[in-house]
């Protein structure tokens, strides 16, 4: 039997002229075993081209050569709170004003950021092929050689992934870790971009929200989060402490991507908000995100003394969140009206109705609580269930067992991220409209990503 059969990899990988490709191994089982089904499904569809540094510099689109310096992000939160002269996106990302040129700190971050590239509508300029090196070299096992790469690069329509092996290997050498781990991380990140792409590419390039600072923050942190969660244990720690530490702020913000919610889009009928409403909603969203991690539940709500984030993470009660306590986060802002009207009204009414039925049907059991006024009794019932579990669904129980708490934590971690990811993807599928009813919640979400991650001590 001919051993050439065994060379096939799930993805089609071409060596377009990278000498360092021979240091990398694509046949490793763990590269493919770590991937989830949808990610592998993308990997099967999209061809990968291994390129050298010069080729990557040609391929990398000029409008994407932008990064946010973590130094700018540090005090941006404080500056933005200044009511007289609030900081803008330009202060965070100085190059965003002219739009064309690269960021001032691009040259510093180029070798970290431009290790991989996902392009939706690839154009293969001839100078990329001219810069190829090591053409006659035998490529690593499973990787197709230059002649096939040249043909595929010219004729293959649809998205491409480019990986710069030279940068991957040199970065790994500098940090003293396995280059294959860096390769996996970069590859998963690019596949994450592929998963986040909607049904079709943007026809007009200016429609792409990636060109806005907030769009870039959300897109990059989402893709980074997707790649990050595919690692476990020691590898995950290495990825976070070594690979993500030196990255620009938008990549680092993935550490809070699963912790804060993106609001539903659009928040109101488009083109209905006047200037005052926009400002009101903005400040409401700001105080919501500020309080989300810090502010405590008041007494009489399900988690007295805990922050919203803690309650969300530790209790398996999705419907606890839209309780009266949450309103205090947005009190006095226009968001309060929005929250009352759009989100929570139905749920409150539903619970109240259920409780009323319960009292009528089940008098004997609740006779003690009937001495209280009805509304207080409802609060008391909630406090009671907090400790003794919920009657209607067996799966829902509050526990003090730390192991179970950890499991719940993992559950809701991925859950909030999945909501954010699907909302972002759906927004792009809509064609990324720029009405304030869409953009304001996205901008504030991106700002919260930057603000909260710049204070995270996880690296």
């Amino acid at each position: 039997m001919d051993s050439k059969f065994y060379e096939a990899l799930p993805a089609t990988i071409y060596n377009l002229g990278s000498c360092a490709a021979r240091c990398l191994d694509f046949t490793r089982e763990e590269l493919w075993a770590r991937m989830s089904t949808p990610l592998r499904h993308k990997a099967v569809q999209i061809p990968v081209f291994l390129v050298n540094e010069a080729q990557m510099d040609i391929l990398y689109p000029p409008e994407r050569r932008k990064v946010i310096d973590p130094e700018n992000a540090k005090d941006w939160r404080e500056k933005r709170r200044n009511p007289d002269n609030p900081a803008t996106w330009q202060d965070l990302d100085p190059s965003s004003s002219d739009g064309k040129g690269p960021s001032p700190s691009w040259s510093r971050y180029k070798r970290i950021v431009a290790m991989g590239l996902y392009v939706c509508n690839p154009k293969a300029p001839s100078e990329v092929l001219a810069k190829a090196e090591c053409k006659d070299d035998s490529p690593p096992t499973g990787v197709l050689g230059f002649s096939k790469a040249e043909k595929a690069c010219k004729h293959h329509k649809g998205p491409h992934i480019y990986l710069c092996c030279e940068r991957i290997v040199s970065f790994a050498k500098e940090k003293g870790i396995d280059p294959n781990l860096v390769l996996d991380k970069v590859y998963y990140h690019e596949l994450g971009h592929a998963v986040l792409k909607g049904v079709r590419c943007f026809e007009k390039p200016e429609d792409d929200p990636y060109l806005e600072t907030w769009g870039r923050i959300i897109e990059e942190s989402a893709a980074e989060w997707i790649s990050y969660v595919h690692f476990r244990g020691r590898e995950q720690l290495l990825v976070r402490k070594v690979l993500m530490k030196d990255k620009p702020a938008e990549y680092r913000s993935c550490v809070v991507f699963h912790r804060i919610p993106l609001f539903p889009l659009p928040m109101a009928e488009p083109n209905n908000w006047d200037e005052n409403t926009q400002q009101g909603i903005r400040s409401g969203l700001r105080s919501f995100y500020e309080g989300w991690m810090d502010q405590k539940f008041p007494w009489g709500t399900p988690g007295p003394g805990k922050s919203f984030y803690e309650v969300w993470m530790t209790q398996k009660l999705p419907w606890v969140i839209p309780s009266t306590g949450m309103l205090s986060l947005v009190k006095g802002t226009l968001l309060e009206d929005w929250v009352r009207g759009k989100l929570f009204y139905m749920r409150e009414r539903q619970e109240w109705k259920e409780y009323k039925d319960l009292l009528i049907m089940d008098l004997g059991r609740w006779v003690g609580f009937l001495s209280l006024p009805l509304w207080d009794a409802w609060v008391a019932r909630r406090a009671f269930f907090l400790f003794f579990g919920y009657p209607s669904w067996g799966a829902v129980k509050v526990t003090t067992n730390p192991k179970t708490l950890i499991r719940h934590r993992a559950l809701f971690t991925s859950f909030m991220a999945s909501l954010n990811l699907s909302a972002w993807r759906a927004y792009k599928e809509l064609g990324a409209p720029r009405e304030p009813e869409y953009v304001i919640p996205l901008e504030e979400f991106a700002a919260a990503l930057i603000n909260l991650s710049s204070q995270a001590y996880v690296f």
Binding site: T27, P264, K316, R347
Partner: protein, 452 residues
Amino acid sequence: MFFKGINPSQEGPSKTPRRARYSDFSFQRPKPEDPRPTIRIYNLGCQDLSPFDFSRPILWRRMPTALRKVASSIPVFLVNSRQMDAIYPPSRKTILVDETILEYCREVAAIPLEVEDGHNFPQKLLFLSLLKGKEFSSRWWGETYEPFVAMGLYLPEPPELQRILERSPENMGTGKGIRSQEEAKQVLQNHQCPVIFLCCERIYKTAESERMDPNLVLDMVYYHELGHALLDVEESLWDTSEDPYKAPFGRIIEESAANWIAYYCFTGKEAGLVQRLIHRQPMEYQGYAAFEEAPVLFFGKEQVYYHLLRKDQRLIFLLLGEQEVMCSFESIFLSFYWRRPAWFYQSWPAIWHAEPVISLHELDLHWAGQGAIHITVPMSGPQPSALYQTIQHKWGLWSRPTASPEERAKLNMLWWVAYKELGAPREKKGYYVFPLSFLVFAYYLLLRGAFS
């Protein structure tokens, strides 16, 4: 098996009650001490069997419990490509989802959720009726798909022996554990049982062109055919007028389920290679990953009341004709279905995780801003039925799903088999399993397979 309370002679279109061939649909990963299935393999016309090894323990070690029983009871016959072409039913050598349909799917999937309400309604309704099998043109699959599809065949009854024998070559290959043509003749003549045919020549060619291990391709094809066997019912619907496979929706669900079974047997890099093979198959086969994501029977009758009065009924009469609307009770509800399922399924967030975590409550919160009314459980009115509640729990519509992916896939398969047991009725007859659920589910599989 599944509908004991229903008298099929009154309710269903079929006079004779059917039963599922296999009752065990458990897809637990096998334990090392589980018994080895006895796989009977006969060579009917393959000349070169040297690339293949049927005695590898991994061939049966990968099989989940459900497949082992099937594998023990169904003989496998190795044939050459001429024999395969002779026994392959001509009606099945078609692809139903072609580029035009795909382009249409792409357009439908790209329609923004908000504008779905008005002018796209007739289009989508038309599309659903296309999936149901009306006005649908079948196409010959040609050279693109034949190497990837006609590698194996499951037949509920043995074919005519003469057609195979007259195409058998002089000298035939042998291998360890492979029985001869003489024994094969006896089995095919004496037993009226289901059979599986594998075309080793095509498997080898495909493996060569894809640079894969031929044994891996062989295993994938074999598991796929075992999947078809598992999903079949006694007194099969195969190629009768009732066979749902002839309609696009039936083909999509059947092939996606069989591919889910095949894919489920592999892990790691092998699973990636199997995904790559599946990627070369026609669109009907691509819904394998989505098969475990969403329940077939999500749209219970509870929701119908809620939306019935909200939509304009006249368009349905215009599109389907009065007679059909009158005889098909369920198409009256299309006004509800045409929008919600597609919307719901498109927004299903399970795609992000190997282990999906879904809460429709959160989706409600998310959609509330888009002007949606409560879509999960009605706020008022009748309480959801026990079946509906079970589905909610299994798929984790309120919190973490209580069922594992294999359990969810199993439930979808059970419903599909139950539907076949009833004779695959095309119109609703008063029980829960009604075709529109499958129609919408097939639409979901198609969209997810094509655009993810």
